[in-house]
Each structure stands twice: as C-alpha cells, then as structure tokens.
C-alpha cells in the first residue's frame, strides 16, 4: 500500500486531515495548532495540494497519537461552519445511520 | 544493528563484503548469493569461514551443494511481513540438514523472534537495540506449541499423550 505521503494528492475543494485516535479509535481532525480535535469545527482547512501534503505529513508524523490519517473533503457553509464533504465523512462524524440495537 | 547469537547480543565474527569490494583477507566473510555463485570453490577454499546472503525469492536448492561447507546462511526479511524466509529456513534445516549458523537479516523485530527460532534461525541481525536486549525474555513468551517444526520442541498433542501415559502408568 502506498504511504499517504507518496500518493498523488488532489484537492477539489476545501479539505481537512482526519484520522482515528490511537488509544480508543475515536475520529479526530488535525487542527492548525498542530494537535487533534474530536470536533470538526476545530479542523485546519487546506485548499491546495501543497498545503494538504504538508498538513498530512505533520499529521502522519504523530504516529503515537493518531492512526490512518488522510485528507477528507469538507463543505464550508454560508455561515462559515464546516460540514463533512461526503457521506463517509458524515457517517464518521455523526455515527451510524441506523439505530443501534441498544441506545448508545 | 546488534547481532543476537546464543540468545544474547554478541560480536559479529563475520564481515559483510559488498559485491564490488575486494575480499579483505582471510577472515570470516558474508557475501551475496550472486558473488558466491560466481566462484563458490574459490570462496569456500579460503582459510576463513564463508557465509552467503540468500535472497528470499530464490530457491534454496541452488545452495544445497555447498551447505556442508558454509559457516553461515543469512536469509532475508525485506519487510517483516514478507514470510518467505521462514519456508527457506525450515527447508534448509529440516530437508537439507544444514547445521551451520542460520541468520535472520532485514527487518528483524521482537515480535517475530519466536517464529524465527522455531523455523530454525539461531542468529539475528536485530533492527532495534531494545529488541536485542529483550531477546532472551521474548524467546520464553510461549511454552505451548501446537505444530511440529524441526526445532525439537514437543507439540501439545504429544505432551498430552505423554501425560496420559504417565498417568496410566501410575501405581
């Protein structure tokens, strides 16, 4: 499997770097301050391939804290809020689209 | 990169010689398969010991005629996930009766030590110092082995049968 750092990075719009937290697997987003947040609204936005590559490289370097970092599309709404850019990222943020067998 | 031999960190008696380098005298040398096969008799005829580094994508059959005169066969794990050298090791030990030093090289990590020992390796070019230091403790991680290899460890099945015989042989 090619490392995310070697893959061709193509940005089609505003994007973020997302991963899973190593110790518990929770979804996290890379912040501009060089850390991680579980809140998408804290995520650093990148708009060009170079920016994205740099943000990804710094994220991947945090091998202890995060697993499986990659670049994900987002939508910026009129009010400035950041929303997931596809169904997969919606599901990652909100959880499964079905009722769990017991209340979560 | 520390060498582990006899279960602990040891000095490496062998020098890796690059393909284009001259042989540095009569000491113990490790050469590539390509160089070895160019003139095996010349290398084996030296006073010093000879070892060969055998690639993991090449049949060990080509090495068999020389096994009784080779001091070391070094096999390769290009990544720890590439398990071809385990088969090569077992064939060398169990089918071809290789008695010399069987060395693991490449990405040799702690969590594969037990597998490597069971496959017949007895020396290890270990990537991390901390792994080399933990070798002896790691080798003792398991006391139960389900399947037989050439390492002589009794399998679970046979241990059970032994226990049963000794029970029924009681007073």
């Amino acid at each position: 499997m090619t490392s995310p750092l070697q893959q061709k990075i193509k940005i089609t719009g505003p994007s973020v770097v997302t991963a899973n937290r190593t110790w518990d697997g929770v979804v996290i987003y890379r912040t501009a301050a060089g850390g991680w947040s579980t809140d998408l609204s804290d995520a650093a936005i990148v708009r060009a391939a170079d920016e994205a590559r740099a943000l990804l490289a710094e994220s991947v370097a945090d091998d202890v804290g995060a697993v499986g970092a990659y670049i994900a599309p987002v939508e910026i709404k009129d009010g400035g809020s950041i929303e997931p850019g596809n169904l997969r990222e919606q599901i990652r943020r909100q959880g499964v689209t079905i009722d769990l067998p017991v209340p979560a | 990169m520390p060498l582990v031999k006899g279960g602990k960190i040891a000095a490496d008696a062998f020098v890796h010689v690059a393909d284009d380098a001259d042989l540095p005298g009569d000491g113990a040398l490790l050469v590539s398969a390509a160089r070895f096969l160019e003139d095996p008799e010349a290398l084996l005829g030296r006073a010093g010991k000879t070892g060969v580094i055998w690639p993991n994508n090449r049949d060990v059959d080509d090495l068999v005629p020389y096994l009784d005169r080779l001091a070391v066969v070094a096999l390769v794990f290009p990544t720890f996930r590439d398990g071809r050298a385990y088969s090569q090791a077992r064939l060398l030990r169990e089918r071809h009766g290789f008695k010399g030093e069987l060395r693991a090289t490449g990405q040799v990590l702690r969590d594969q030590f037990v597998f490597m020992l069971r496959a017949g390796f007895d020396s290890f070019e270990v990537k991390k110092e901390s792994d080399a230091e933990a070798f002896a403790a790691t080798a003792k991680r398991y006391s139960v082995f389900y399947q037989p290899t050439g390492d002589g460890r009794i399998t679970a099945l046979h241990r059970r049968m032994q226990l049963r015989h000794s029970e029924s042989a009681g007073p």
């Binding site: 518990d24 | 597998f115 679970a156």
Partner: protein, 551 residues
C-alpha cells in the same frame, strides 16, 4: 463440543500476555503503527470508521452458553451492548478501545475464547457446517478435523506472514452448508471405496475482486495425510504467491495463473518430499482430539410428543416450527435455527440481553451448546422436540423467533459503510428496507427459499457473488449505487451470479428486488420451483427486462 485443557488455555493466556505487551509498546511509541498493524490484525483488531473493531473467533461456529455469556459481558463492559455475528462464524464488536483490548481478551480467555488469527495475512478461522455432529446423514463430525486444523494452523511459525489471508472451510454432508467451494482450501470429508475416511481437497475458491469457484486438487487425501498435504499447499503458496500486488495475492490467483494441473504438481512434489513427517496423523492423534469432544447424553424420545401435538393448533408456533426447526440425526430431537434477522433490524446482531437469554435457553434446552452459521444466524443443535413449544415462547419474548430462515428476509449483509472503512456504500439500511417490504410471512413463504446477499464493497464480505440475489455497493459520483446479480449459489452447486444491468441508486434497490420477485412469481413453472431454479431454467434475460423496462 471440544473441551480446552490446561495446555490449550496456557497458549491462549500466553497470547494475551504477548498482545498486552504489544499494545503497551504501541501506546508508548516503541512500536510504530507500521510495525504494529500486522500484530493487531493477527489478533483480530481492525480500524473502522468510528472506532476499532474487534473480531473474536468462534472456532468452527461452536460455542458454549458460558462463552456466549462472556460475549454479553464484553459487549456491556467494553462496547455498546451488542455484537455482530459474521459470515465466517466469528463475532465482532464495533466500538472497542485499543487500550482496553488486553483486558477484554483476558476476560474472554477465562472461558477459552481467543481472537487469534481472525485477521491478517495468515490462516483464519476454519469454518464448518453449523449442523456438524447433528445433521442426519453426516459421514462423521467434521469439527474433529476442524479442531486438528485449528491447532495445526495456530501460531504456525512458517505461515504467519503469507502473501494474503487464507481461509479454510470443511463439510461432511451432501448438502454443503459451509460454502467450501468459495474458500482458499475447501475440504469435503467422505469415505472412499475401501471405507477409509479422507478429504476431497479444493483450492483457489474465493470471492472479492476476482471471484473463483475452487478446483479439486486431489479427490482423496486420507485423514492421516491431511496436515502434511495442507502444509505442502501452504508452503507452495508462501513461496510463490504474489507479494507485489495485494489484489493478486490470494492463492486463487496463483492457481489461476499456474493452472490447476501445474499447481497440483508443485504441491505433490513438495508433499512427496515431506509426507512421512511428524505431521502424519496416527489413529491415536485423531482419537486424542475426538475424545475431547463431548456429546450430549440423548434420551430416547418420541418423534411426536404430547407437548407438540397440543401446540400444533397455534398457527404462530406452527409457522415457526415449520420454518426454523430441522431434522436431527437422533430421533425425538431437532436442530433449531435462531433467526437474527428481525423485520426492520440489522442482520446478524444480538444485544447483550439477547445473548444472555439465549445462553440460558441453550442451558435449558440444548445441553449448553450453541452454533453460529455463516448465514449470520444462531442455532441450538440439541433440542428435544417436546421442548419446542416452550423454547419458541421464550425466543418470541426476546425477538429471536422470526420465522424467516432461508426466506427473502433472511438476508446476509456485511456491516457496510455505516461501520467499515473499506466500504463504498451502506448495506444495513438496504437489508432493513428489504425486510420491511417482505415483512408478511405468508408472502415470504409463497416466494420460498431465496438467499439475498449484500456487500458494501467489492471485498464481498456479504458473499454477494453467491447470493440468489446479490447486491454490491459501488460509488458513482459520490452517490451510493448498487449492482444487482442473480443466480449465484454457495453450496455444492456453487456458481457466481450474473449481473442483470447497470447499477441502480440507493433508493431503487428495494423496488428492484420486488421486481425480481414479481418476475419470478410470474415465471415459475410450479409453486415449488425455487427462484434460483427459475433463473437457471430461463436465464437472466426475462428478469433483466422486467427490472430495466422502466429504468
């Protein structure tokens, strides 16, 4: 079922200690993710969309009530109160934390449960017919051989880093409930003309990107040579399987590229060099494992007890009895399939409460033993027919008596995009909608046996290729689309299904399935001609026409 002894338990505990150490070194940074990933996979730990997923082994689909209760405990203590039974007879927990995994494993180890090799490029759970040991007409219990193989393949030093995953399945009945023809090695236990027990060995079956039906490499391998022959196959694969491209790394590709004759010769040459080795199984070796399997002390019971006669007037009970209970090799007993496919629910899930309840029912009515089938239902293998009415009432109370086994709403589905990082599209909501469309049991019975399989991506964990109706999630311009196939089978007549036409959007899938069913009902030669047989008789064309006439 097999009783673990001190030796088996020691191995499981040693594995738990090792994994605890590996997790510690990962969390401290001593191990990188690149170094750790294979290690966690070899202990069943995946990364999914929201969390890690923990896949626990249920060897050949047999478990005890005590073990089921321990699953309930893990679900409650470490997860979100439920588990999912898979198409390889394992159980998955979807919300587990890596830091807590060693403790969960230790809790499971106390009752002889482990997660060894439920993922990774190694040999995986050896799956078997979920009716093993109780099916009428079975040659002998294949689980004895499955256990021999399980032990042989557990932490095998030579084969823990194969080119790719390696799956075995074994059957000992005419009708193959274990789908052996779509496994890397499929084993059909039978007797030769001389009355010896042995195996037809098939290799190179598999689904995914390039589906293949397994080919017979040897028609009879005597029992004593099973392990040495398997070792020969694995050694050839380990050395020659492709490692340059993960999509071409399974043994099915090697068999396809070499051709079965050349592959068989490679294996035979290897085997001849090592056949009389320590792997040859003596009668005493087999007996040792056989003796550790305990079987119930069945009573001599009537086929038509009073309790059953009385309950026959209850149409709900009768509907369930006719659908979910099956003939047992011992008179007076029945095999009961417990449907985990409630109408409107996600297929194959059970809550911790349901797990506890069904464990109690297993104690009461099935000698403490349960089974998991690859179709994601459970089974109680030793139920006295006189206990069926009481069992049914108890199952009904906990929502586990849906009389839809083998019917259109008995859907096999992978977790799909709701859970899985590999998925293109969701599968569970599709399954849920289908169960709602066909919720009427009279309708479902009118349709008869119909296997619907849904996979959220080409990895085919839902076995869509071999569904009577197969549904495959794909992505088109960021939207969920689904390709539909019909005519697949997973049994002894295994065949890959045929695409009926262009992919359809998420909202159309249930309508398409309804169209297919309507076409079948109109076209079938007789009420008892199954969907799969109508497709075989008429081909795909009449179905394609019906579905795409208005699309």
């Amino acid at each position: 079922m097999y009783a673990y002894d001190e030796i088996d338990r020691t191995l499981i505990n040693e594995r738990v200690s090792e994994f605890r150490d590996q997790v510690k070194r990962r969390l401290s940074g001593e191990l990188t993710e690149d170094e750790f990933k294979s290690l966690r996979l070899m202990n069943g730990v995946y990364l999914q969309l929201h969390a890690y997923m923990f896949r626990v082994a249920i060897p050949y689909g047999t478990l005890s009530s005590e073990q089921m209760r321990r699953f309930a405990h893990v679900a409650r203590r470490y997860d979100r109160g439920y588990g999912h039974f898979t198409t390889r007879q394992n159980i998955q927990f979807n919300w587990i934390k890596l830091a807590e995994l060693p403790d969960a494993l230790a809790d499971l180890a106390e009752v002889g449960i482990h997660a060894m090799q439920t993922s990774g490029n190694c040999t995986r759970n050896i799956t078997a017919d979920q009716w093993a040991g109780v099916a009428p007409g079975e040659i002998e219990d294949p689980r004895i051989w499955a256990e021999l193989l399980r032990q042989y393949s557990t932490l095998h030093p030579e084969f823990s880093f194969l080119p790719r995953k390696f799956k075995f399945a074994i059957t000992a009945s005419e009708h193959d409930r274990a789908a052996i023809k779509v496994h890397d090695i499929g084993l059909r236990l039978h007797r030769n003309a001389a009355g010896e027990t042995g195996f037809e060995v098939l290799v190179g079956g598999g689904l995914g990107r390039t589906p293949f039906i397994g080919k017979t490499i040897k028609s009879f391998v005597p029992g004593r040579d099973l392990l040495s022959y398997v070792e020969a196959i694995l050694r050839v694969y380990n050395q020659y399987g492709r490692r340059d491209n993960i999509y071409k790394a399974r043994i099915k590709i090697l068999v396809h590229e070499l051709g079965i004759e050349k592959f068989a010769k490679e294996v035979e040459d290897e085997w001849l060099a090592m056949r009389d080795s320590a792997l040859t199984l003596d009668d005493s070796d087999v007996e040792d494992i056989r003796s550790r399997f305990t079987y119930p002390a069945y009573e001599k019971l009537p086929h038509m007890p009073e309790e059953l006669k009385k309950a026959a007037h209850d149409p709900h009970f009768e509907a369930w009895r006719k659908n979910s209970t099956f003939a047992h090799k011992v008179p007076g007993y029945a095999i009961v399939t417990v449907s985990l496919k409630p109408i409107g629910g996600p297929p194959g899930d059970a809550t911790a409460e349901q797990m506890d309840a069904i464990a109690d029912l297993a104690d009461k009515y099935s000698f403490g033993e349960l089974r998991v089938g690859h179709e994601q239902n459970l089974a109680l293998p030793h139920v006295a027919r006189r206990d069926l009415p009481a069992l049914w009432r108890a199952l009904d109370k906990i929502g586990l008596a849906t009389p839809n086994v083998n019917l259109v709403t008995d859907i096999i589905a992978c977790p799909g995009l709701d859970y899985c990082a590999l998925a293109n599209a969701r599968s569970i909501p599709i399954a849920q909608e289908l169960t709602r469309r066909f919720a009427n049991h009279d309708t479902a019975n009118l349709i008869g046996r119909l296997h619907v399989n849904i996979s959220g991506c080409i990895n085919a964990c839902g076995h869509h290729h071999v569904g009577h109706i197969g549904i495959l999630g794909v992505e088109k311009n960021g939207e969920e689309f689904y390709q539909i196939t019909i005519g697949g089978r997973a049994d002894e007549h295994a065949v890959v299904g045929t695409l009926i036409g262009p992919a359809v959007p998420y909202g159309d899938v249930a309508d398409v399935v309804e169209d297919l069913v309507e076409a079948y009902l109109a076209l079938r030669a007789r009420p008892d001609e199954l969907f799969i047989d109508t497709v075989k008789r008429l081909g795909v064309e009449p179905f394609r026409e019906r579905v795409y006439a208005t699309r």
